[in-house]
C-alpha cells in the first residue's frame, strides 16, 4: 500500500503542477521576466518536452532522492529539506505530547462525568479548539507572553541569537542538549519551544479530547465494564484498565490524524515563530513561486505521512490483542 501511495503522491503532485493553468516556466521566471528568458527556462527545465517524458525524468529523479533545485537559493531541495526536518520534528513531537497530556485526561474526565458541568465545559473547549485560527492564537500568545509579560523569548526561532546549537546527535536541540548535559542550551531551547508548542498543543488537544471522550463513553457503557463493576472493580482501575485501555484503539487513529494535521499546520506556526523547519521552507517557496521546493516539501510530507501510518499500524498491534494474536490456543 505504502509504495503505491507514494507513487500516487508523486503522480498527483506532478500533474497538479503541470496540468493546472499556470505555466511552470512563467512561474519559475518570475513576474518581470522577458519572453526570451521564459523560453530559455522552458528549455532548461525540459518543459518543452512531452508530459510523459517530463514525468519519466521527474520520477527517476525522485527515486534517486533528487527533488530538484530551488530557484530561490539554487541549492538542492532534498538537502535543504533534510537539514530542516529535525526542527520541525522537535516541535511536532513536543506539541503532540502536550496535546495528549492535556487532551487525554480532559476527555476521560468529561466521559466519566458525562452530562455534568465538567463535561459541558470540556465539550465547549473542544469545539472552540477545533475552530481555533492557529495564526491568531499564536499572535495573541506572542503579544501576551513576550510583549506584555516578557516571560517568553520573541519569535526568533529555536535558540537565542547568541546561543550555539548543541552538537548534533538527534537534531532535536532539547534532547541533544540534555544528553550532553548542556543545561544552558537546554533551557534556552525549551524557552523557545514553549510558545509555539503551547499554541499548537492547545489546538491539537481539541480533536484528541473529542475522540477520547466518545471512545471512553462507549467503553464505559460496554458489557465488560459492567462485568468489572459487578465483581467489585472500582474507580481508577475501571477508568484506566477497562475504560481507557480499550478506548486506546480508536484514540490511536486520532493521534495519527492529529500528527498528520501537524505536518500541515506547522507551516503557520513555523512562519509565525520564525522556526527554521520544513514548514517555513514551504512557506517561503510558496511566496516565491519556488515550484520545485514546494513540490519537494509536499512529497516529503507525503513520505512522513506514510511512515506515520505504518507506525500507527504497529501501535495497533501493540494496543489491540485481537490484531496481535489471531490464532486460538485451544480449539
Amino acid at each position: 500500500m505504502s509504495v503505491g501511495a507514494l507513487f500516487g503522491i508523486v503522480v498527483v503532485v506532478f500533474l497538479v503542477v503541470r496540468i493546472l493553468p499556470g505555466d511552470g516556466a512563467v512561474l519559475r521566471a518570475g513576474p518581470y521576466a522577458s519572453a526570451s528568458r521564459i523560453a530559455q527556462i522552458r528549455k532548461e527545465f525540459g518543459l518543452d518536452k512531452s508530459l510523459l517524458s517530463q514525468f519519466q525524468t521527474y520520477m527517476v529523479n525522485v527515486l534517486h532522492g533528487n527533488l530538484g533545485t530551488s530557484i530561490r537559493t539554487q541549492a538542492p531541495v532534498t538537502t535543504e529539506l533534510m537539514s530542516r526536518l529535525a526542527a520541525s520534528l522537535e516541535m511536532a513531537l513536543a506539541s503532540v505530547l502536550l496535546a495528549s497530556l492535556v487532551g487525554i485526561p480532559m476527555g476521560m474526565w468529561a466521559a466519566a462525568r458525562r452530562g455534568k458541568w465538567v463535561d459541558h465545559i470540556v465539550r465547549i473547549f473542544a469545539v472552540i479548539g477545533s475552530s481555533m485560527a492557529l495564526f491568531w492564537l499564536g499572535l495573541l500568545m506572542i503579544y501576551l507572553f513576550f510583549y506584555r509579560l516578557g516571560w517568553a523569548p520573541g519569535p526568533v526561532g529555536r535558540l537565542n541569537i547568541g546561543t550555539n546549537p548543541p552538537t548534533s546527535i538527534t537534531g532535536l536541540f532539547t534532547v541533544d542538549a540534555a544528553l550532553q548535559g548542556q543545561w544552558a542550551i537546554l533551557t534556552d531551547a525549551l524557552r523557545h519551544l514553549a510558545l509555539p508548542v503551547i499554541t499548537l498543543g492547545l489546538v491539537l488537544s481539541a480533536p484528541i479530547i473529542k475522540m477520547v471522550r466518545s471512545a471512553m463513553i462507549e467503553s464505559l457503557d460496554s458489557d465488560y465494564v459492567r462485568t468489572a463493576r459487578s465483581v467489585g472493580v472500582r474507580g481508577y482501575e475501571i477508568l484506566w484498565r477497562d475504560g481507557f485501555r480499550n478506548a486506546l484503539i480508536p484514540v490511536t487513529t486520532t493521534m495519527g490524524i492529529v500528527f498528520g494535521y501537524m505536518l500541515g499546520g506547522n507551516i503557520i506556526i513555523e512562519f509565525l515563530f520564525n522556526w527554521p523547519g520544513i514548514g517555513r521552507y514551504a512557506f517561503t517557496a510558496a511566496q516565491n513561486n519556488d515550484i520545485d521546493a514546494l513540490q519537494g516539501f509536499v512529497i516529503v510530507v507525503g513520505v512522513l505521512y506514510i511512515i506515520l501510518n505504518i507506525l500507527i499500524d504497529l501501535i495497533y498491534v501493540w494496543v489491540d490483542p485481537r490484531i496481535r494474536i489471531r490464532k486460538a490456543p485451544t480449539s
Binding site: 503542477v17 477545533s130 475552530s131 481555533m132 485560527a133 495564526f135 491568531w136 509565525l272 510558496a286 510530507v301
Partner: protein
C-alpha cells in the same frame, strides 16, 4: 448514547413522551451556533451599507485605539478596522458556506457513484481519495492555490478540493451499507431505473453523515481561508478579509497595537465555532 442504552431495557411500545423541554434547553450548543451564524450573516448582508469605505485611508488618524467612533480602532493607514471587518464578513462567510456546499455536493455525488456502481470506478475513485488524504489538507490547498494563482476564486477551488475526499469517503461508506438494504431491490423491482433509485432513494438515505460533516467543514473552511490569507497565499491586501487583516495586524502587535489583529481573528474563531457547535451537536445525536 443514552438513548441507545435505554432501548436495551425499554420495549419500543413504551411511548410516553419525555418531559417537555424547549429546544433551547435541549440543545443549547446548537442554539448558540445558529444564533451566531444568523447574526453574522445579518451583519454581513446589511452591515456594509452602514459602515464607511473599508479601503478609505486616513493617514492622520492611524493606530487609533478602539473608541465610539472606531469600534475596533484604526490600522496603520488610518482605515477603520470595524468597517473592514464587516465587509470582510461577506467574503469569509460566503467562502465558508460555498466551499462547504460545493465540497458536499461534489464529494457526495462521487461517493454515490463509487459506492453504488462499485467495480473499477470505485477502485479508481478510492485510490485517488486515499492519495489525496495522504496530504494534510492544508498543504494540498497551499499547493493548489499557489499553482492556480492568487485570487479568491482559486482559494475557493483549492480549499474545496482539499475537503472533497472526506465527503467521498463518508458517502461511499454509507452508500455501501444502504445498497444492501432490501428497499433498493424493492425500488428496482417496482420498475425504477438504477439511476433514479440511486438519486432518489440511496442518496437521500446516505447523506446524513455528510451533512453533519458539512457544518464542521464550513467552520474549518473559514479558518483555512484565513490561514492561507495570513500566509499571503491567495487573497492579498488590501482586500478586506479577516485573515489578511490579521496578517497586516501581525506587524503591529509587537509595537503594542493589539486591536488590528485581535478583532478580525476573533471573528474568524467566532464564525468557525458557530458552525462547529452545530456540527458537534448534530454529530453527537443519533
Amino acid at each position: 448514547m443514552s438513548e441507545a442504552s435505554l432501548s436495551r431495557f425499554v420495549p419500543p411500545v413504551f411511548s410516553e413522551p419525555p418531559t417537555r423541554k424547549s429546544f433551547i434547553r435541549r440543545q443549547p450548543m446548537m442554539t448558540i451556533g445558529i444564533a451566531t451564524i444568523v447574526l453574522l450573516i445579518g451583519f454581513a448582508a446589511i452591515g456594509p451599507w452602514f459602515v464607511g469605505d473599508p479601503r478609505a485611508t486616513f493617514p492622520g488618524s492611524s493606530f487609533a485605539p478602539p473608541s465610539w467612533s472606531h469600534f475596533f480602532g484604526t490600522d496603520m493607514y488610518g482605515r477603520d478596522v470595524f468597517a473592514r471587518a464587516v465587509n470582510a464578513a461577506r467574503l469569509d462567510l460566503w467562502l465558508g458556506i460555498v466551499i462547504s456546499v460545493v465540497a458536499t455536493i461534489i464529494g457526495s455525488l462521487i461517493g454515490l457513484v463509487a459506492g453504488y456502481w462499485g467495480g473499477w470506478v470505485d477502485d479508481v475513485v478510492m485510490r485517488l481519495t486515499d492519495i489525496t488524504l495522504a496530504f494534510p489538507g492544508f498543504v494540498l490547498a497551499i499547493l493548489l492555490v499557489t499553482v492556480l494563482g492568487g485570487s479568491s476564486t482559486s482559494v475557493a477551488i483549492g480549499v474545496t478540493v482539499s475537503f472533497i475526499p472526506y465527503f467521498i469517503r463518508l458517502t461511499r461508506a454509507e452508500v455501501l451499507g444502504q445498497r444492501e438494504l432490501e428497499y433498493v431491490d424493492g425500488a428496482i423491482l417496482a420498475g425504477n431505473s438504477k439511476l433514479r433509485v440511486a438519486l432518489r432513494h440511496v442518496l437521500p438515505n446516505s447523506l446524513k453523515p455528510s451533512l453533519v460533516q458539512a457544518t464542521l467543514v464550513a467552520g474549518w473552511a473559514i479558518t483555512t481561508v484565513g490561514g492561507l490569507a495570513f500566509l499571503g497565499i491567495g487573497i492579498h491586501p488590501p482586500t478586506p478579509e479577516w485573515g489578511v487583516m490579521v496578517a497586516e495586524g501581525s506587524n503591529d502587535i509587537l509595537t503594542g497595537v493589539w486591536w488590528t489583529a485581535l478583532f478580525p481573528g476573533a471573528l474568524i474563531v467566532i464564525a468557525a465555532s458557530a458552525f462547529q457547535f452545530i456540527g458537534d451537536d448534530l454529530g453527537s445525536k443519533r
